[in-house]
């Protein structure tokens, strides 16, 4: 009895799930809720282990930890829909995590930081770490601070010490995040050129996205 994962055939024993076959053969599948020490319990709650069934079963995305291997079943662990779904899962899990997980310095020791890098979950801005964000924000004091549109994880090193953020961690590249960040500038009186010029010191690609979003948002 054989199943096909990513165009390669693998033998399996009765009762094995696709995840088990993959693991036994060194095919990587990310999981969160599956606990190998308690392999009987399969809550199938995290949906991170999804694979796309291509032939020999109900087509579409299914969690591999609970998908029984059957003869002739053909799945993909790395198709576009699989990637998109996993990305969505990680993003939702991190939606309330006020940290730039992707660039976090504990990386290597944290499964989330690995996942957010693997699935390109963009970070949060320096403002989310800044002690001034509730009161005494530099923008309200007329200082051009790039905190709102800069990737965090310096623990707001400069703004915490009273200096403006120069954007040395690079301007964010995600349009939505930039849009949220730019709200902070709407109240402050800086021109589009001033902000772009400051952003250009340490960022390259991000600045083009920033410019596009600024034009859309009607910055002058």
């Amino acid at each position: 009895m054989k199943i096909i994962i990513n165009d390669t055939e693998y033998e399996f024993k009765k009762g094995q799930m696709v995840l088990d076959v993959a693991r036994a053969n060194g095919v990587h599948l990310p999981t969160l809720c599956f606990n190998p020490l308690n392999a009987q319990a399969r809550p199938a709650g995290c949906r991170l282990c999804v694979v796309e069934v291509l032939e020999g079963g109900r087509p579409g995305l299914q969690s591999s930890c609970t998908l029984p291997a059957t003869d002739g079943l053909k799945v993909s662990t790395r198709s576009r829909p699989v990637y998109n779904q996993r990305r969505e899962v990680v993003e939702l899990l991190l939606s309330e995590h006020e940290q730039d997980c992707r660039n976090c310095f504990v990386s290597g020791d944290c499964v989330f930081s690995e996942l957010s890098r693997e699935y390109d979950i963009n970070g949060v801005s320096v403002c989310s770490e800044c002690p001034n964000r509730k009161q005494g924000c530099l923008l309200s004091r007329g200082v051009l601070c790039l905190g709102p549109i800069t990737y965090a994880n310096c623990d707001a090193y400069c703004t915490r010490r009273g200096y403006n953020c120069e954007g040395c961690h690079s301007v964010m590249k995600n349009e939505d995040l930039l849009r949220f960040g730019l709200e902070a500038f709407a109240k402050a009186e800086f021109t589009k050129e001033e902000i772009l010029e400051a952003a250009r010191v340490f960022s390259f690609e991000g600045v083009d996205v920033l410019e596009k979003v600024m034009i859309e948002e009607g910055f002058k």
């Binding site: 090193y157 400069c158 009273g162 200096y163 403006n164 120069e166 010029e197 010191v201």
Partner: protein, 431 residues
């Protein structure tokens, strides 16, 4: 007679990459070369068309070790170009900034890069086990220097607090007081380090080659932050004439430029400063120079290590007295207001590795039109090459490994920051 072929590619325990080549036959040196094969850093082009307030921010990134020095040279060039006067208080604070960096950089070089040679090991790691106290003392000093730099400059590297016209935020007087005490307490640690180095100083080869020394110099202090260009051969020059002092030229074996002034080469750095300005060192620094037998004019490049040690002690002592002067009448002078203006200006600072020049030309809106930076290590490459040519023949009867080590130690003594003088692009062809 034996044949000697040494080829050290990517010498370790220096900043950046350089190669050493020695070929000798029948007791004759056929070729000896300090090779710097690097691509230019292009910073002078980066800053063109950038507004004046971004220049220090950008040029400080030339280096991760002497970023405070680059910032200060950059600010001084901008201020000279625009006739900006900074307050006496800001001047004193900037002197603290350069002391902070001098300590940071020198202790890093001596403690982590040179000390393994003194103890005859390959890196600092084995010393952690065998000389735990010494390594701890080094780490302690380094940490203090970092923290002190942060208090004054806002960050330990790539400072945010140093801006054209003065300081973004005047450092807190309470912090200065706190660090005055910490500096005083660190004297003991510095002396521990000095004692250990003194005990092992015999490991430094004795070698001497007469050369010209160039450093900033001034009447009233051991010049680091400010002064005119001084030379042991030729008196003084105004900083505006730096181009005629460094005389950059191109040689085939190096993509970094070479320099010369009165002789075939000159040396910059701690030893050059010592040779020109030793009498203005702090009392304790002088005491240590004496203990090491360091006397001007010293032509042994290996003594640059000792001069650095002496400067660490000087920086500690002088910082304490600068803080005392500052705190007599300390004011909040945060965020000075300045107006840009067209002009050309040169800034010179004696940074850890030697005299550093930045020169900018601005238009009336303060946009940079032209920039030039001459980095200390660039000025030393040529002198290293000439030292090699004199030193190598004296070494030939030693075993090959020992010759290699001696040449490596010679380069290291200059504390070169090759990545600073240019930037090495490592290309490995795999076919």
């Amino acid at each position: 007679m034996k044949e000697i072929n040494i080829n050290v590619e990517h010498l370790t325990r220096i900043e950046g990459h350089g190669n050493i080549i020695l070929n000798a036959k029948n007791g004759n040196v056929e070729k000896v070369m300090w090779e710097v094969s690097e691509a230019p850093r292009l910073f002078e082009a980066f800053v063109r068309e950038k507004p004046y307030h971004q220049l220090a921010q950008i040029t400080s990134r030339i280096c991760g070790i002497c970023s405070i020095g680059h910032t200060l040279a950059s600010l001084k060039a901008t201020e000279a170009a625009m006739d900006i006067q900074i307050s006496p208080q800001s001047e004193l604070l900037r002197r603290l900034a350069i002391h902070g960096e001098n300590m940071q950089s020198h202790i890093l070089h001596l403690g982590y890069l040179v000390s393994p040679d003194l103890f005859g090991v390959g890196s600092v790691i084995p010393l952690v086990k065998t000389h735990t106290d010494a390594v701890l003392a080094v780490v302690k000093l380094h940490r203090l220097a970092n923290e002190f730099s942060e208090v004054v400059c806002g960050r330990t590297t790539h400072p945010t607090n140093l801006i054209p016209g003065g300081f973004y935020k005047t450092p807190s007087p309470l912090k200065l007081k706190e660090y005055r005490q910490k500096l005083l307490d660190s004297v003991e640690t510095a002396e521990t380090v000095a004692e250990i180095i003194l005990d092992n100083i015999g490991a430094l080869p004795s070698f001497s080659r007469e050369t010209e020394f160039i450093a900033l110099t001034t009447e009233d202090e051991y010049a680091l932050y400010d002064g005119v260009i001084g030379s042991t051969d030729a008196g003084t020059y105004p900083v505006e004439e730096y181009v005629n002092v460094v005389n950059e030229f191109v040689v085939p074996q190096s993509t970094a430029k070479y320099c010369k002034n009165k002789r075939e080469a000159f040396m910059v750095g701690a030893l050059a400063r010592f040779n020109l300005n030793h009498e203005k060192l702090s009392p304790m620094a002088l005491k240590w120079a004496e203990k090491f037998g360091l006397r001007p004019v010293c032509h042994n490049p290996f003594m640059n290590n000792v001069a650095q040690l002496v400067e660490i002690v000087h920086s500690i002592e002088d910082s304490v007295s600068l803080i005392d002067r500052l705190l007599i009448d300390y004011k909040d002078e945060s965020r000075p207001v300045i107006t840009p203006k067209a002009g050309r200006g040169v800034g010179a600072v004696d940074v850890p590795r030697g005299i550093l020049f930045h020169e900018y030309t601005y238009d009336k809106d303060g946009i940079c039109k032209k920039a030039n930076c001459v980095i200390p290590t660039n000025q030393n490459h040529n002198n290293i090459q000439h030292d090699f040519e004199t030193f190598a023949p004296q070494l030939l009867d030693k075993p090959e490994k020992e010759i290699e080590l001696n040449l490596e130690m010679l380069v290291r003594a200059y504390d070169p920051c090759v990545s600073c003088s240019t930037h090495f692009l490592k290309v490995e062809w795999k076919r």
